[in-house]
Each structure stands twice: as structure tokens, then as C-alpha cells.
């Protein structure tokens, strides 16, 4: 297959881009890919991941309302470290852990693009995350409780209910 850009060299990169549900297939050669600035694994195209990220953010801004939205975003800043949202957009990195809180509703689309998800489901700190650990256990038990009830296994369900009650009590006393 020839490169769809130059029609001269064989296409060595084949990929599918999905942007807002719109699917596009690409078959191009490395040289054209580099010229177009597409990401090629294993090579450095001369621009960093952070540039890419800020590209995503610009994209988000463009999709938003045109009435004063941008200037409002310029003003948005983290009250702890002082980083403005504009700065964050430029460098693609946060200044401190509080930035996540102040830029919260802005970063969902970015996280979705980079990771596919926006919510952490992995490890929780033993000490600092004790509450969340208990919450996750309660959620899991509640789900199991529902299943047991549906299966009419009331004895197990009663045990689960007691366990949930204990955990909730523990949590409120902390």
C-alpha cells in the first residue's frame, strides 16, 4: 500500500484516529508522518508530551462558549501555588496538588483523552487513604448485598448488612 499523502513511498504507519466519535483511518509513510507531526513511537518528533497536552486543552477551549469564556479562563488560578490556568495550558504540568482542585472541571476532557478514564480505581495509601479504603469496601459489600437479596439468600444478606453497619459506624467515629 502506498502512502496516502505522497503516493510515492510505501505506507508503514497505519492508525485510526477517533475524534468526537468521528473515525478516520490513516495509511502513511514515516516521512510524511514526521512532516505532519504525527506521533511516531520510538522516535522523537521534536516536540514533547507537554506540548501535546496543551494542544488538547486548547482544543477544549475552542469547543466551549465564545462569550467571555476564554478571558474567564485566563483569570482562573490555583490559590495555593498561584499557577494560572493559562500557564498550565502552556506548560502542561500542574504546580501543586491543589491545582487539581482549582482546575477540576476543566481537566476532565484532558484526562479522558490521555487515559480514557477520569477516576482513580487503583491503590489507596494505607495511612492517608483509610477512609476511601473503607468506603470502597462498603460499596463492594453493598453490591454483594443486592445480589444476595436478588438470589433470596437472606441469611448471608443479613450478615453482609451487619458488616456494612459496623463499617459505617467505625467510619463515623473516626
Amino acid at each position: 500500500m502506498l502512502c496516502q499523502e505522497c503516493q510515492q513511498r510505501p505506507a508503514t504507519l497505519h492508525f485510526t484516529k477517533i475524534i468526537n466519535g468521528e473515525k478516520n483511518e490513516f495509511h502513511i509513510c514515516e516521512q510524511c508522518a514526521r512532516e505532519k507531526g504525527e506521533m511516531i513511537p520510538g522516535t522523537s518528533g521534536g516536540f514533547s508530551i507537554h506540548n501535546l497536552l496543551s494542544g488538547f486543552l486548547d482544543f477544549d477551549m475552542a469547543g466551549k462558549t465564545h462569550t467571555g469564556g476564554a478571558s474567564q479562563a485566563q483569570q482562573l488560578h490555583c490559590e495555593k501555588c498561584g499557577m494560572t490556568y493559562a500557564q498550565f495550558r502552556k506548560i502542561g504540568r500542574f504546580g501543586c496538588s491543589s491545582c487539581y482542585k482549582y482546575f477540576d472541571d476543566k481537566i476532565d476532557p484532558l484526562l479522558k483523552r490521555v487515559h480514557g478514564g477520569t477516576v482513580h480505581v487503583g491503590k489507596v495509601p494505607k495511612r492517608g487513604g483509610a477512609d476511601l479504603q473503607v468506603q470502597r469496601e462498603i460499596d463492594a459489600l453493598k453490591q454483594e448485598l443486592q445480589e444476595r437479596i436478588e438470589k433470596q439468600e437472606f441469611e448471608t444478606a443479613a450478615q453482609l448488612r451487619d458488616r456494612i453497619r459496623d463499617l459505617e459506624l467505625q467510619r463515623s467515629q473516626r
Partner: protein, 354 residues
């Protein structure tokens, strides 16, 4: 504090050539990014704040020493430029830590399989580097170290976003798991491009031996996860392992096909490279890496006897520019480096035969 021995010798645990599938997977690495709750990330931290981070983390590592085993902490600014670069070449610290970080430090285990970087892009980067295909084992160690440190440090953690990191690409688990794979047959049979682009479609990314932005040398590629949020650590490790198992299989198939279809040509290539490495007087880094790759393939195929894989791994590092300077002393220009490199490879290969 004892002597700083880490830059005196090239050999490190990850080069031992042990572990599963070590003929194709050279090493497995896991790094997790963590930050202190109370201080700004290194990117915007003042020198004073960065100093506080360094003190807090080094102290925590000291307090956790019963769990961590024998460790040595070193502020990078106390090392010479050469020693810093040698640590990079041995993959014990990242280029960013060595070159761009203020108040940087590294806490290293005696066997060099664990390093805790302080004030890199994030306050803490825990790295476990194991020989062969041992991603799971590396993760298990890293998470233990993480727990040990967390006993003394308040991490920046959010119920919804997970572990908070300076770059949004690391947020959530903060986990980057990677393997370094030797894929000469896939490169020779021109299948590598297809494999690499397939890999990038399943949430993994491919880099050269020294990480982001570095070029692939000697048919060595690093494959790592891209996603850190919305998947748990187990899924991330499983996903990487699953893909790598397949790549190993493709590489083995490609080797078998090469041996089946053009054995004599492959044999010629391997032996020519072996001849050049044992006799050349001048060799640049790129050629050395390529020839070492050929020789490694020859060892894997049983064509070259009595050459331990450990030695080939060691040579990959010994022949890096800063390590050459460290070994032979004095500063040298590029053509002198090429001479010393050839001499060193010759000596090592001939000595192993005696």
C-alpha cells in the same frame, strides 16, 4: 557514610541476564510517582521548598530502613558531572534528575535494583529495575517501598484522581511499568514498524533505552504503559505482560524463520560482528550497539560459546560515552572515545574466552 561505589563498576542487578525469557527481555522496570501533600511540585518549588522535600524524603527513607534494607542516599550536587551521567547510563537515575533538577537526590539500594529519586518531575519517583521479564515482581517490590515511605510521608492523594502528579499523564496510579526487549529478528525482517504501531494502539508506548525522546540503540526497545488513570495497577501490569508475551513469541518466530530460510547469511552477519568487536581498533557507539546486538543473537542461537549475556549487558553500559571517561580517566574527544571503546570491548571479549 561509606564510599560512593555505584559509579565505579558497570555491572548492576538488572544486567545479570537472569529471570524469565532473559534471552529476549533484558530487564523490567517499574516506577511510581508520588508527591508530598504540603509542598508545591518541583517545577514551581523554590530552592528552599525543594530543600525541604529532599530532607523529608531522605529522612523517611532513613526511618524506613528496616523495611528497605541497606540504602545509601546521595545529593546529586555532591557528585561530579561524570558520576551523574554514569548513573544515567546505568539507568539508576533519569536524565531529568541528573540534568534539570534542583536539590535532587537519589536513594539507592546496595544491589542497585531500587532507586528513589527525589525532586525529579515529581517529589518522589520509586524505581525498581530487575533483570529479565519480571514486571510483576518489580511492581510488588515498588509497592512495598511505597508503603514503607508512606508511613512517614503524607502523600498528595485525592479520592477521585488518585495519586496527584505534576504531569497529568501520570496521575492516578503514578505507575509506569516497562520492559526492555531485544528484537533483532523483528528489525531484520522489517516487521518492527508494524509491531510498534500496533503496540501504540493498545495503550502502550515504545521508547529507546534511555526513556522519553531517546533513540533505539542496538535493537533494544522499551515498551511501557501509557495509561495511569482508570485502570488499577494489576490491570496495567497484566496488560503490559500480555502484550510482551506476544511480542516475545513474534520475535522467536522471526528468529526461527531467519535461521530456517537464511541461516548462512545470519551466521555470517553474527560472526562478522563478533570478528569486528574482537579486532577493531576504532568503533563508534552506534556501531558497537549494533554489533553487540548481533553477537547477543549469536549467543542466544548457540553459535557463540562461553560468552555470558551478563558481559554483553555490561558492555552496553561500559561503552557509553561517560562511562568510558570514567574508566579511562581524563576528558577525551569523540575519536579518542571510539578508540577506547574498541579497546575495552576487545579486552573484555578476549578475556572472557581465556
Amino acid at each position: 557514610m561509606s564510599e560512593f561505589a555505584f559509579t565505579e563498576h558497570a555491572l548492576s542487578t538488572w544486567m545479570r541476564g537472569e529471570g524469565q525469557d532473559s534471552d529476549i527481555v533484558i530487564s523490567s522496570r517499574v516506577r511510581i510517582a508520588r508527591n508530598l501533600r504540603s509542598l508545591p511540585f518541583p517545577l514551581v518549588a523554590s530552592e528552599e521548598q525543594a530543600g525541604q522535600v529532599r530532607q523529608l524524603v531522605v529522612e523517611a527513607a532513613e526511618q524506613a530502613k528496616d523495611d528497605l534494607g541497606p540504602m545509601q542516599s546521595v545529593p546529586l550536587d555532591e557528585l561530579s558531572e561524570i558520576d551523574r551521567q554514569v548513573l544515567v547510563e546505568k539507568r539508576l537515575v533519569s536524565p531529568m534528575l541528573a540534568n534539570e533538577s534542583q536539590e535532587a537526590a537519589v536513594v539507592l539500594s546496595e544491589d542497585e535494583s531500587l532507586s528513589i529519586m527525589v525532586n525529579e518531575e515529581d517529589h518522589i519517583r520509586i524505581q525498581c529495575l530487575y533483570p529479565g521479564f519480571q514486571v510483576r515482581q518489580a511492581w510488588e517490590r515498588a509497592t512495598e517501598v511505597d508503603d514503607s515511605l508512606e508511613a512517614y510521608i503524607d502523600y498528595a492523594f485525592d479520592d477521585r484522581r488518585g495519586y496527584l502528579t505534576s504531569c497529568p499523564t501520570n496521575v492516578g496510579t503514578g505507575l509506569r511499568a516497562s520492559v526492555m526487549i531485544h528484537m533483532p529478528a523483528l528489525v531484520m525482517t522489517h516487521q518492527i514498524g508494524r509491531i510498534l504501531s500496533a503496540v501504540s494502539q493498545v495503550g502502550l508506548t515504545v521508547r529507546g533505552i534511555y526513556g522519553e525522546g531517546s533513540e533505539a540503540q542496538g535493537n533494544l526497545f522499551q515498551i511501557s504503559n501509557q495509561i495511569t488513570l482508570g485502570q488499577n495497577e494489576q490491570e496495567i501490569v497484566d496488560n503490559l505482560e500480555g502484550i510482551v508475551v506476544q511480542i516475545i513469541e513474534y520475535e522467536r518466530q522471526a528468529r526461527n524463520r531467519l535461521v530456517g530460510e537464511s541461516k548462512i547469511r545470519l551466521y555470517d552477519r553474527v560472526m562478522r560482528s563478533y570478528g569486528i568487536l574482537t579486532h577493531a581498533a576504532i568503533i563508534d557507539g552506534k556501531e558497537a550497539a549494533q554489533r553487540l546486538s548481533d553477537v547477543r543473537l549469536g549467543v542466544d542461537l548457540g553459535w557463540i560459546d562461553g560468552l555470558p549475556v551478563t558481559l554483553l549487558n555490561e558492555l552496553t553500559i561500559l561503552t557509553q560515552p561517560h562511562f568510558l571517561q570514567k574508566t579511562f580517566g581524563a576528558t577525551m574527544n569523540t575519536s579518542e572515545k571510539d578508540m577506547y571503546r574498541a579497546q575495552l570491548i576487545r579486552d573484555k571479549l578476549v578475556k572472557s574466552k581465556e
